[in-house]
Amino acid sequence: MTIRPLPKWAMQKYATLWSRFKTRKFTYEQASKLLNENKNRTSVLFSHLKKSGWLKVSLSEEDSRKRIYTLISPEKAMEGIAK
């Protein structure tokens, strides 16, 4: 997947998320709480990260209506950007 660079505001939030979750799964609520953002802004961030290839989305095994998120590592992102 093509990974596009992030603007600074998104990169800073990505760094915050990465410092906490690394490659572990997390939920929308966990991210929103960590970033201390209202959920609208978190939605915008997630949309941006996902479009830029920094965020992967999967369905929850327990409740398929819910979504689970994982970040790609900075190293992989770097490789993807450099391609």
Binding site: P5, L6, P7, M11, A15, W18, Y28, K39, S43, R65
Partner: protein, 1204 residues
């Protein structure tokens, strides 16, 4: 069949008709009153079984109260008064028959008895014949002491006389016991026949007052005839009238005693006595013992009480009274005087102690304890328990003064320890004289017995040391366990002592720096069981005199004299420690043939001597060059001075003057190495020589050769042949290496001689060595290389022989080093071409030109090759086309593979010219950002920029050139957003539709419409509870009127979308502008609703059959709302459709959510069947029914409610 569905706002109840078709007979056995009681359970009140009720327990009758303080004996019965006739006891005859003794005075006491009386009153043989002069004595005695007052005593005697024995008179006389005389005289008449006469004597009236011992006498007092006269006493009795007291029928005490005079704690002492009762038996006895009234126990007539000696009873325990009662309740008591000594108090043990905690074997320590005893008995014996490492002892402690502070209450013992280890003072026992024992707790007092090393015999074997000389500090250390190590403080330093022999331990002090007071001040030692001892030491010192005397300012006062003249030599000789031995100062003089030693003095006698100046006057007795070659001196410590002197000589001769000859040698202290040779020459100073004098020019290698003419070769080879002659031109000679080892030490001298005089050069010491390359000064001149950069690995390789090759191992490869010119330095140039974090130089070896090799490992010399420059990628301009009124963010991803990223900077032309910027760059992780402010951007301007980065190794990377065009900003204004559900709720509340969609639209009104190219509407749910909450629609732009234009978007909200607040976000884009609003909200209401698949559940069966539903097997329930649903059902009885009196119970139907599960009977109670059904999900319920016998064929219907 019927079906009905009820819509109750948010809940639905489904009513299902239940039809049964079949022929059967059914007798209803029970009747429910209706569905109104569904879920209502009536429970009977619990009954009470009165028959099993327990009868009340009557109140107990209180025990009679006994006043134990009233222990006085019962009163004697009231005295009665009356006449008692003593006869056999059984019949109580008030008549007594005294003992009658004829012709004798009888004083026997005792009770009268009928037997005696019968003796008298029986046959003739029993008659008492009283002859003249004879007396019958009658005694009365109240042996039972039962008569209180004697009122009247009448004794009757019946006698008769023999007619043949008449008498004139006989007198019957009675006396009382007091000796009074009461005479009752009977005038006897002489009967003609046997005359039986009764006569009564009233003894009481005769003065008898008591009957303790009363006596009557009957005798003939007046003999009428001289014939023998006798009377025969036939019977005699006395009637006694007295005041009666009750018989003495009380318990009688006797035989008091104890079985012990003393007792210890818990011991029993028995108080005993004998209690008898005259008539009955003793039933009870008590007594006052130890201040308390206690009951006595019977053992036959013996009664006893066992007193237990206790702490509280300690002292004299006295038995002072005894009381007893008989079975007739006659009570008696009396005083007793019995006692014993009770000691119920054990000795008290306190303050156990020991006076030592650490002692050595064979020494003594004391153990103490304070023993007191508050009881009657005194402390008798005291023992202390001593444990050593193998045995256990009980040691007797004494309070005899004199040992271990014993005395008074302090008991002590002195113990000699016999072995090492931990000795423990354990428990203490104390006994008193009554046998009371007390044992203390374990004292936990330990005495460590250790054979600590002992020190003695300190000494140092030398009190003044020369440089390098060794003094031995000694100490004797004795330890039976063996000394494991010892150390000492010597000259302020802590040093380990060395074991010598026996008990000797020593330290060898080497004199290396002058110190006037090298003291042995402390010693310590440890033995094999870790017993440590230490002590200070005093008075053991030595002096270190490390400096030899010095000689300076050596002088000769002449340089040329004639034979037999005198010259002076002088030198200033001092000793830093002042230990110079004055008589040791000597000079060595070469007198042309020999070296002689001359004593030098400072006595002021000659040659300027005095003070530190020592001199000697010498007569030059031979021609030639006299040399002052050495000054010798020594100090009292033994340091010796031997200073070699050069150039101090005097020429002794008459006819010429040769000033000097020297060895021209390139070194002061030359060393040869294998294969080497060195050139030298002997250069004479012949400036003052007379011409025509024949001179011989020689050299000498002392130790190898004798003086050798220059022309000879030996080990010497010359570069010129035959240099000998009068021309002394400084010709060089070559000396080859003498040996390939380190052992040869020689000297080289030159000699110039004429016919009478020899002049010598100063001897040059030479040493021959083997030669191997030696390595020094490894280093590399750069430790971090960029790609293509070189670093030089350097070292110095030295040797007397020329170095031929130097190689090394660098980064695992052999590296051939190059000599830097003709210096000792060698180098290898390493070029960085591929990244390597550790380029190490690990080994070096070299060979000289005589093939001697040497090698060594190298460590710590390494470098890093960083051949890769940082990488720059992912350059991004945010926004892609910045407006002239907004900031442009220029970013790139920058990293360095080796982690050596050093500096990042950016270049760009936004200021008009291309400039590089190092400040203002920030990074997040590896992403770097630089912001160009809007005031630096002009619309239409093309901005170029790129990032640069270098690493610490010096590699630099230039990022790709980026460009963007600055857009001119435009005006845009979004004025109104209208959200309208299809039901046009004014509050923008969207109500979901069951199992369907709800259409919602947004109308956005904005200005400047003509250039707007995109209107994006997004709807998202702030709760994010369910499926992707965001919709995104692209609105259509229409209805433009003037500067206003609308953007319209419409979408369907599915019924299962989660309820709550939804946001509407509108993005308006135009070529040079962008605006966003997210402030509009709407509420999507909550919807609870379910749908069931069939309206009627039908069964068809015959009686006694269980059958599945024909159309609800299963019945499907679907959640058509947008919240989780729980579904409950309850039913009613089945009522015949045609004949309603037939009612089948509701429980004849059952259900389950799985076909093969456990079916539950349908009840009148609402029961949860499905839980947490997700919106849009479906679940199944299977129905069955069983039909009873006896019901007619018809349709039976009931209603089932589905509730959520």
């Amino acid at each position: 069949m019927k079906y009905k569905i009820m819509n109750r706002s948010t809940a639905i109840a489904a009513v299902i008709a239940f039809s049964i078709i079949g022929l059967f007979v059914f007798s209803p056995a029970f009747d429910f009153k209706g569905s109104e009681i569904t879920g209502l359970f009536v429970l009977d009140e619990p009954s009470v079984d009165n028959e099993t009720a327990v009868e009340p327990i009557p109140e107990p009758i209180p025990e009679p109260t006994i006043d134990e303080t009233d222990l006085s004996p019962p009163q004697k019965e009231e005295e009665t008064e009356g006449e008692i006739l003593f006869t056999v006891q059984e019949t109580y005859i008030e008549r007594i028959y005294p003992i009658v003794h004829a012709n004798s005075v009888h004083s026997a006491s005792g009770a009268l008895n009928s037997q005696q009386i019968s003796d008298i009153s029986s046959d003739d043989a029993a008659f008492v014949t009283l002859s003249k002069g004879e007396t019958i004595t009658v005694e009365l005695e109240d042996t039972a002491n039962s008569i209180d007052t004697l009122n009247d005593v009448n004794c009757t005697v019946i006698y008769y006389t023999d007619a043949s024995y008449k008498t004139d008179a006989a007198q019957f006389i009675a006396y009382d016991s007091q000796g009074g005389t009461a005479v009752d005289t009977l005038q006897l008449t002489t009967p003609s026949t046997v005359d039986l006469t009764r006569h009564v004597v009233d003894l009481e009236t005769k003065g008898l007052t008591a009957l303790e011992v009363s006596t009557m006498q009957l005798y003939v007092v007046n003999q009428i005839s001289t014939k023998p006269y006798s009377i025969y006493v036939d019977a005699l009795w006395c009637d006694i009238d007295y005041d009666y007291s009750a018989p003495a029928d009380y318990p009688v005490f006797s035989g008091y005693g104890t079985n012990a005079s003393q007792a210890k704690a818990s011991e029993t002492v028995k108080f005993n006595l004998t209690i008898t009762d005259p008539t009955t038996s003793v039933s009870y006895a008590n007594g006052s013992v130890g201040g308390q009234v206690v009951d006595f126990t019977a053992n036959g007539d013996e009664w006893y009480y066992e007193h237990i000696c206790t702490d509280a009873a300690s002292g004299t325990v006295s038995w002072i009274t005894i009381s007893a009662n008989d079975t007739d309740n006659n009570w008696n008591s009396t005083s007793v005087s019995q006692s014993y000594s009770c000691d119920g108090i054990v000795p008290s043990i306190s303050d156990p102690s020991a006076n030592e905690t650490n002692i050595e074997p064979t020494n003594y320590f004391c153990i103490n304890a304070t023993i007191t005893d508050d009881g009657p008995a005194s402390v008798d014996t005291v023992y202390g328990e001593i444990w050593n490492t193998t045995d256990h002892y009980n040691i007797s402690l004494s309070n005899s003064a004199g040992v271990c502070n014993a005395g008074g209450d302090v008991y002590a013992a002195q113990i000699q320890v016999t072995q090492e280890g931990t000795w423990q003072y354990g428990k203490v026992w104390a006994n008193d004289s009554y046998g009371n024992i007390n044992v203390s707790d374990f004292t936990d007092i330990n005495i460590e017995v250790r054979d600590y090393p002992q020190f003695s015999d300190y000494y140092v074997n030398d009190t003044l040391l020369a440089n390098g000389e060794i003094a031995k500090f000694n100490v004797s250390i004795i330890s039976t366990n063996g000394v494991s190590y010892a150390n000492a403080t010597i000259n302020g330093n802590n040093v380990n002592l060395v074991f010598g022999s026996g008990t000797e331990w020593y330290y060898e002090y080497t004199c290396s720096g002058s110190d006037s007071d090298v003291g042995f001040t402390y010693v310590a030692a440890n033995d094999s069981i870790n017993s440590w001892n230490e002590t200070s030491v005093a008075g053991i010192t030595t002096e270190c005199d490390a400096n030899a005397p010095e000689s300076n300012n050596e002088q000769m006062n002449e340089s040329s004299i004639e034979p037999n003249d005198y010259f002076c030599i002088a030198s200033t000789v001092t000793d830093a420690e002042g230990n110079l031995v004055a008589g040791s100062v000597e000079a060595q003089i070469w007198n042309t043939t020999n070296y002689i030693n001359i004593s030098m003095t400072n006595d002021g006698s000659s040659c300027g001597s005095g003070g530190d100046v020592y001199g000697a006057q010498i007569q030059a007795t031979a021609e030639g060059i006299w040399n002052f070659t050495y000054v010798f001196a020594s100090d009292t410590a033994g340091n010796k001075l031997g200073k070699s002197l050069i150039g101090l000589n005097v020429s002794v001769g008459y006819d010429y003057s040769i000033q000097n000859v020297v060895v021209n040698w390139p070194f002061d202290n030359a060393e040869f190495f294998t294969g080497e040779h060195f050139d030298f020459n002997c250069t004479p100073d012949t400036s003052g020589a007379e011409t025509g004098i024949s001179l011989t020019y020689q050299y000498q290698i002392v130790g190898v050769l004798s003086w050798t003419d220059i022309s000879t070769t030996g080990n010497l080879t010359t570069t010129e042949s035959n240099p000998i002659g009068n021309v002394l031109d400084g010709t060089s000679y070559r000396l080859d290496t003498l040996a390939n080892d380190n052992s040869t030490n020689i000297e080289l001298r030159c000699k110039l001689s004429n016919s009478t005089t020899d002049i010598f050069s100063t001897a040059v010491p030479i040493k021959a060595n083997a030669d191997y390359p030696q390595f020094f000064d490894y280093y590399v001149n750069d430790t971090l290389l960029a790609n293509g950069e070189n670093a030089r690995f350097n070292l110095s390789v030295t040797g007397w022989k020329e170095i031929q090759t130097v190689n090394g191992t660098i980064n695992g490869q052999t590296a051939t080093f190059t000599q830097l010119g003709s210096t000792d330095e060698w180098y290898y140039d390493y070029s960085c071409s591929s990244s390597d974090l550790n380029v190490d130089w690990t080994y070096v070896w070299a060979e000289n030109k005589v093939n001697n090799e040497n090698s060594t490992t190298v460590s710590g010399v390494s470098l890093e090759c960083d051949a890769a420059a940082p990488d720059i990628s992912g350059e991004l301009t945010t926004p892609l086309l910045p407006l002239d009124n907004e900031e442009a963010e220029l970013s790139a991803q920058i990293s360095d593979t080796e982690g050596n990223l050093d500096q990042v900077w950016i270049g760009g032309n936004w200021s008009g010219n291309w400039q590089n910027y190092t400040s203002g760059i920030t990074n997040v992780l590896f992403a770097y950002y630089y912001n160009v402010s809007s005031d630096q951007l002009e619309g239409g301007e093309v901005v170029g920029w790129r990032y640069y980065a270098n690493d610490t190794a010096g590699n630099t990377f230039i990022g790709a050139l980026q460009q963007f065009t600055v857009l001119t900003s435009a005006y845009l204004n979004m004025e109104n957003i209208t959200i309208a559900p299809d039901d046009a709720d004014p509050n923008i509340i969207v109500n979901p539709v069951e199992n369907n969609n709800k259409t919602v639209n947004v109308t956005v009104t904005f200005k400047n419409s003509t250039e707007i190219d995109l209107c994006t509407v997004k709807i998202f749910n702030s709760t994010d509870s369910y499926e992707d909450p965001t919709f995104e629609y692209f609105g259509t732009i229409d209805n433009c009127a003037g500067v206003y234009c609308d953007c319209f978007a419409e979408w369907d909200m599915e019924y299962w979308r989660n309820p709550g607040t939804w946001n509407v976000s509108v993005d308006i884009n135009m070529t040079n502008a962008y605006e966003n609003k997210t402030s509009e909200l709407f509420t999507y209401n909550e919807l609870k609703s379910i749908n069931i698949s069939v309206m009627t559940i039908a069964f068809s069966a015959v009686p006694e059959e269980t059958t599945n539903s024909t159309n609800a097997y299963p019945l499907t329930v679907k959640n058509i709302g947008n919240v989780l649903a729980n579904v409950s059902i309850n039913g009613s009885n089945f009522v015949g459709a045609s004949q309603s009196q037939y009612i089948i119970n509701v429980e004849n139907a059952s259900y389950d959510t799985t076909e093969l599960g456990t079916y539950t009977e349908l009840t009148h109670t609402s029961t949860k069947v499905l839980t947490d059904m997700a919106p849009a999900s479906e679940n199944s319920i299977y129905f069955r029914a069983s039909f009873p016998i006896g019901f007619i064929e018809q349709i039976y219907e009931n209603t089932i409610e589905f509730l959520t």
